[in-house]
């Protein structure tokens, strides 16, 4: 079979490039795949393969403190996401729509939570909540309020960035057209701007959800003594030993994240397609 010569820009057909890509993928994914495989391992230790089992999944589901931690994490992630989406979307619209003094300053400070080291954020939050005397020992779910607030502060800038990128492709004449046809400011927002930024809102929400779900450092500093979230619980379990039970729960978390990410990407693709004509 006559092979066509490799053209100058066909890097994907060059052997060294293919090896490099394969190495990168292996480096990224082999640990994850190993973790998933060993979640089915019928052994107390993660070192050797003893046979297939689902018992560690059962064990994980029967572990009430682990399930409580997971439920806490999901609750926190849900509320943090709602808050982040509202705050983030409003911030994005503010920065896109209006000119005001201190706009550059706001843009700068808005991205601070993204760049400030988590450990600093965590300590700052701890000092802040102690300083203002945030009530402790509240009943569930109010006991999660500190963590929810802390998570919202570092999640909403991500939402704002995604939504703002989406807003950049908005044709202001559509808004004017809506008003021209009789829409009030609010109707124009609801009927024209909101559908346009919807994919950005959903993508931002999923981003916020996953960021909140797996946050360890900031949660560690802001959770009270009674509150345990999933990453903190896993950390505590690992300190004794890495049992396949941890693998099982981690696998569930990975699958959940993959599903959410896939939805986010699909929506972003749809958004990109919808944005192409003016």
């Amino acid at each position: 079979m006559a092979r066509r010569a490799i053209a100058p820009l066909e890097y994907t057909r060059r052997l060294w490039m293919r090896l490099w890509v394969a190495a990168v993928l292996a480096f990224l994914y082999i640990p994850l795949i190993a973790l998933i495989i060993f979640s089915f391992n019928d052994s107390k230790r993660n070192i050797e393969w003893k046979g297939f089992t689902l018992k560690y999944y059962e064990k994980a589901f029967e572990n009430s403190s682990l399930m409580e931690a997971l439920f806490n994490s999901l609750t926190i992630a849900f509320f943090a996401t709602v808050l982040s989406v509202i705050l983030g979307a409003l911030t994005a619209i503010l920065l896109w729509r209006f000119r005001f003094t201190g706009k550059a300053g706001l843009e700068g400070t808005m991205t601070m939570p993204i760049v400030v080291p988590e450990i600093c954020m965590g300590v700052a939050m701890l000092i802040f909540f102690n300083g203002i005397g945030w009530p402790q020992n509240l009943p569930w779910p109010f006991s999660l309020s500190q963590i929810i607030i802390a998570h919202s502060t570092f999640c909403f800038p991500f939402v704002a960035m995604v939504v703002r990128a989406r807003l950049a492709s908005f044709n202001r004449q559509q808004e004017e057209a809506a008003k021209d046809l009789g829409a009030t400011e609010i109707q124009a927002f609801r009927d024209v701007l909101l559908p346009h930024i919807k994919p950005g809102l959903i993508a931002g929400a999923l981003l916020a959800f996953t960021l909140s779900l797996d946050d360890f450092v900031i949660t560690f500093f802001t959770s009270g003594p009674e509150t345990v979230t999933f990453p903190i619980k896993v950390y505590a379990m690992v300190r004794f030993s890495v049992t396949p039970e941890v693998n099982a729960v981690s696998t569930l978390l990975i699958i959940l994240t993959i599903i959410l990410t896939a939805i986010a990407m699909k929506l972003q693709n749809a958004a990109a397609l919808g944005a192409s004509p003016k």
Binding site: N171, Q173, Q174, E176, A177, A178, K179, D180, L181, G182, A183, T184, Q187, D191, V192, P195, H196, L273, G274, S276, P277, K278
Partner: protein, 373 residues
């Protein structure tokens, strides 16, 4: 047209609009009559779009008043004005079907469903988009999107339809077709159309009247043929079509004839009286198609033109054959350029003259226009 008395539907009175140091619209006053196809024409940055946006309510005048159907629009927001606009980008809502786009304004007015469906259908048929009501905007061509924008505005039955550069995004052939369709559509619905354009062909072919704008002011307000044949200033003469402009002085100024002396073109005889100060600086404008071209020595003069007037000699510097006409650039003996166009009535007319031929140029006594500004 059988509207005996036309009332002004839009009265623009002394309107000024500034953007910082820039005066976009400068003390403009004009009336747009009910049922006419009015075109605002001008180069980019002349203020025509700003004026249109003030009619729609997206900009507010700094000074002056705008009355639509006798009502002062100063405090009326865009969503309450009896006008609708077709945007340059069409601004179709991409997440709605064609039918939903067209129905949008009516849904906001809470018109009942049956009537909405009827009116949407009627509007879509009016712009020949019947049957496409279920399509999404990204499945439409540029021309179809424009028709959706038109239908979306017309379905509201506005008193005035505003169109911002409606044809600028279409290719040449489709543009010609849409020019005619827009004129027909306007006739059919009887709504006043106000269109903004920088394209003089578009303006001439569609308009009842044209307002030519320059630097925020209305340079001339006239019908297309008046604008072309009787321009009020050098700006208008030059902006609409091609023109040969020569500086000169009036030396004869009688009620039935005039003679101008142009140092670069000789004596120009005009077979009607002109208003102009004797001896003052004036300009003579002659359109290329109104100049005749003859081989040297063959021109015997015109009966209505005195000997030695309206004639000049030159050499063809360049020619461009455009099919229906041929354009010639003739260098006069004093070095000035004169543009001449010649229709190709017989299939070999373009072979009569060629590069570097010496030619005699001549024109009627009715051809030159005397401009004072």
């Amino acid at each position: 047209m059988n509207q005996p008395e036309r009332q002004p539907i839009i009265q623009i009175q002394n309107v000024t609009k500034r953007f910082g140091p820039l005066t976009a619209v400068d003390k403009v006053s004009l009336d747009i009559l009910s049922g006419e196809f009015f075109v605002l024409l001008g180069p980019s940055g002349c203020g025509k779009t700003t004026l249109l946006r003030m009619l729609a309510g997206f900009e507010l005048p700094d000074e002056g008043r705008i009355l639509i159907d006798g009502v002062d629009m100063a405090k009326v927001p865009p969503n309450k004005r009896p006008v609708n606009m077709v945007f340059q980008s069409y601004a179709i809502f991409p997440h709605m079907t064609v039918a939903d786009n067209v129905a949008y304004g009516l849904t906001l007015q809470k018109v009942n469903k049956g009537e909405i469906a009827d009116r949407v259908n009627e509007a879509l048929n009016l712009v020949s988009l019947g049957g496409l009501d279920g399509r999404m905007p990204d499945q439409l061509s540029g021309g179809q999107r424009q028709r959706v924008a038109l239908a979306r505005s017309l379905v509201m039955r506005p008193k005035v339809l505003l169109l911002d550069e409606p044809l600028s995004a279409l290719d040449a052939k489709l543009r010609l077709q849409m020019q005619m369709e827009l004129s027909d559509l306007q006739d059919e619905v009887g709504i006043t159309f106000v269109t903004v354009t920088h394209d003089q062909d578009e303006a001439l072919s569609m308009a009842c009247r044209i307002g030519v704008m320059n630097k925020g002011e209305v340079a001339q307000l006239a019908t297309p043929s008046d604008l072309y044949e009787f321009p009020a200033s050098r700006f208008v003469a030059d902006f609409i079509g091609t023109v040969n402009l020569f500086e000169g002085q009036l030396i004869v100024d009688e009620p039935d004839r005039a003679v101008a002396n142009c140092p670069e073109l000789g004596r120009i005889y005009i077979n009607h009286g002109v208003t102009g100060p004797h001896d003052a600086l004036i300009w003579v404008a002659i359109r290329p198609e109104k100049v005749g071209m003859a081989k040297p020595g063959t021109y015997r003069g015109r009966p209505d033109v005195p000997e030695g007037h309206n004639i000049s000699e030159g050499r063809i510097k360049s020619m461009s054959y455009l099919g229906d006409i041929t354009l010639y650039a003739v260098i006069l003996d004093n070095g000035r350029m004169m543009h001449v166009s010649r229709p190709n009535i017989s299939r070999t007319d373009q072979e009569d003259f060629t590069w570097d031929d010496r030619v005699t140029l001549h024109w009627h006594g009715s051809s030159p226009v005397v401009l004072l500004a």
